[in-house]
Symmetry: C2
């Protein structure tokens, strides 16, 4: 049933990962932390090897004429490689998410029941051409006692291969078997697809990247998926919004880092507020070089704006473009978000607490803000230490996923012969 | 894209459910509890209508020559219908799983972050011909603030239709819209399949029934699935097992209710223990009318046993059959469970705590027992009050799923103009 690809045998690698995951179950927190520190040291010591491999990817990228943003995410420097190592050391400092008794009680018959956090097992990480994910995901997986199967974007394959080789060298000196980190060394799509259905050996798939990648995994995988990250986020300016707060929040959410998933893509604005504060809004948009795609009211009111269509309401621009929609009340905002939002981060700006409560209660998203920018939906900003991604689904984990998202539970039942 | 079936429009029903789920968000715990009590009253008052409809299903079942166990699960009596009502009243007594702040902290910049439990939204329940699930699942869904779309087995369609009609009558008198309970009134497989991919309107699918039903959902759904219940459970009798405990536990796990998912299907036994306690084991098996399918050692040692093949190690007999496998150490037991277990419930019997710890640590299952019967993996037995099923997957919920499994979280972020 398994097709063996030219260079790789994905199933064999997943089986090796599973075995290594079993061995990880017997390690102490200290052994895992020490391994992460050794990995960090090894990466630093071998940064030149990694940079040399990265040059091959960059060369290839230049030949293919990739856009600047793509090349920027692909490019490594000594500083960036040392940041990978720093990230691993930070993960070593975090609390071990496994081995916690979430509850512990004894039944009347004397049977003790403990609900304990344990590693998921084997994590399949499917991601685009961002070499940092290779290190970040490995660090989080190992710290939480999981093995990982890495399938990165083809355009970073030289960098990823070199990083994994270096990490394997590092792991040789630790209590963690190097088989706990598997690298699918293939640019063949079939290799990725094999992971989708490898339920016996892979416990969860985590896709990280654009909407297309994520949907391909969600639609084709029988292995459970932790869906991450597409963010079509909205700011709703209510009739009772403070003007300064509203403009600050809108500008920050749109322009601070337009390319990230917690950036705002659509402004929903109460028509009465717009009538009153049109000039201030126009000035703020112009000062920040924002292109407006608006509904009829907006196009009439805001000079230079272009008409927004269905595609705009759905669009994750990831640029200095914004769609603007006018509504006559909070329900209009809630309905628009229900139709077009991606359940990531949504904000209301208002001084009316009752309206804010309605919004917080009715909007269905991972994070819902009252009078603050959507940019805080981030593991780092919230103090989670590190994140494997931002979940936009409802099961298992929602919002920024730190180490606990990489665990499951076991019920441990200790008795003295109890029967039913 | 949506195919309208002869009698039903599944998408339209799912959309109605989604709307009703939004309305549920604004109800108080008291309003939900009162609705459950009214449902219970209405079911009791209309028990004859339900029994009459059930007679049509029973008649159909007799004509089709269904086996006794099937007919028993299908058959309703006044007492059973009143038990449904009692179940609803018990759910009304349980703690509301929504609206709990699981954490609450304030960032240095003053942004308050609350992680709050909220309903999942719309639950798609796909189940076999067991009318009790229609009521039980509805009660748990409504209590946790969710709407539910019910797709029961075709052979219970008259009973299910009558139960839902009665519940709709009841809901008319409550704060919950009757659209929160949708019944797919069709025996067409296509109707079930439409639910599989209705990601926009259905938040989770919960299949309850045999392995085939569950695998059909897992393999074809793009809506996230809470996988429940197939239990190929093992009892491992270690060399250091107390004879009385071992036999009591094995017999209880096998014979107390052979047809349930937490019953034992395979006995793994240490060869040295078997050599020493062969006669006691044989006596216990014979007394309880258990048929043994064994490996070579067992067939040689236990009179009347038949050779076990690959199919036996995988089989969820759900009868008084047991497979018996001999091993030379705990690792042999762990490996056998890893290969053939369904990650439900697994037990070790031993007086050696170190060996028990190894087993508890290495076996990958929802519930792992030391010196107790696997029969305790049950929401009722563990004091959860009620369960929607027993999860054998690792994400979101594992083991018996009570009301909290039907919730997700939202991060509510309350600020005063914070930007990043």
């Amino acid at each position: 049933m398994t097709v063996t690809l030219e260079k790789v045998n994905v199933e064999a690698q997943a089986i090796e990962a599973k075995k290594a995951a079993k061995a990880l179950l017997t390690l102490t927190t200290e052994e895992k932390n020490q391994a992460l520190i050794t990995l960090a040291d090894t990466i630093e010591a071998n940064f030149e090897t990694i940079l040399k491999a990265n040059e091959a990817d960059l060369q290839n990228g230049r030949e293919k004429g990739f856009e600047d943003a793509f090349m920027d995410r692909l490019a490594l420097t000594k500083e960036r490689v040392f940041d990978f190592a720093k990230g691993l050391r930070e993960v070593a400092e975090l609390e071990d998410p496994t081995g916690h008794a979430l509850s512990d009680w004894t039944l009347d018959n004397g049977l003790n029941v403990q609900k304990v956090t344990v590693p998921l097992g084997v994590i399949g990480m499917i991601y685009e051409a961002r070499p940092n994910v290779t290190v970040d995901a490995t660090g989080l997986a190992l710290k939480s006692g999981n093995a990982i199967v890495l399938k990165g974007g083809s355009n970073a394959i030289h960098s990823n291969r070199a990083i994994v080789e270096v990490m394997h060298q590092g792991l040789e000196k630790t209590a963690i078997k190097k088989e706990a980190v598997q690298f699918i060394d293939s640019t063949d799509r079939e290799a990725t697809q094999q992971l989708f259905t490898m339920k016996e050996h892979v416990d969860v798939l985590i896709p990280r990247g654009g909407g297309k990648l994520i949907q391909a995994v969600v639609n084709n995988a029988t292995v459970p998926v932790l869906e991450t990250g597409v963010g079509n986020c909205h700011i709703y300016i209510d009739v009772d919004a403070d003007v300064e707060k509203a403009l600050n929040i809108m500008i920050n959410a749109k322009t601070d880092r337009p390319a990230v998933c917690n950036a705002a893509e659509t402004l929903i604005v109460h028509e009465a507020w717009l009538n009153e504060n049109k000039d201030a809004l126009i000035a703020a948009l112009n000062e920040n070089g924002i292109t407006v795609h608006g509904d009829d009211t907006v196009v009439e009111m805001i000079p230079g704006s272009v008409p927004a269509g269905e595609a705009d309401w759905k669009n994750e621009y990831l640029s200095l473009d914004i769609a603007i929609k006018t509504v006559s009340d909070v329900q209009g905002a809630v309905d628009h978000i229900e139709e077009y939002g991606t359940k990531h981060s949504e904000a209301i700006v208002t001084e009316n607490d009752a309206i804010a409560t309605t919004f917080l209660n009715l909007v269905d998203a991972a994070a819902i803000y009252h009078n603050a920018s959507t940019r805080f939906t981030d593991g780092g900003a919230l103090g989670f230490g590190a994140e494997i991604g931002i979940s936009t689904q409802k099961l298992h984990a929602r919002g920024p996923m730190g180490l606990p998202a990489l665990t499951t539970v076991k019920y441990l039942m200790r008795g003295t012969g109890q029967i039913r």
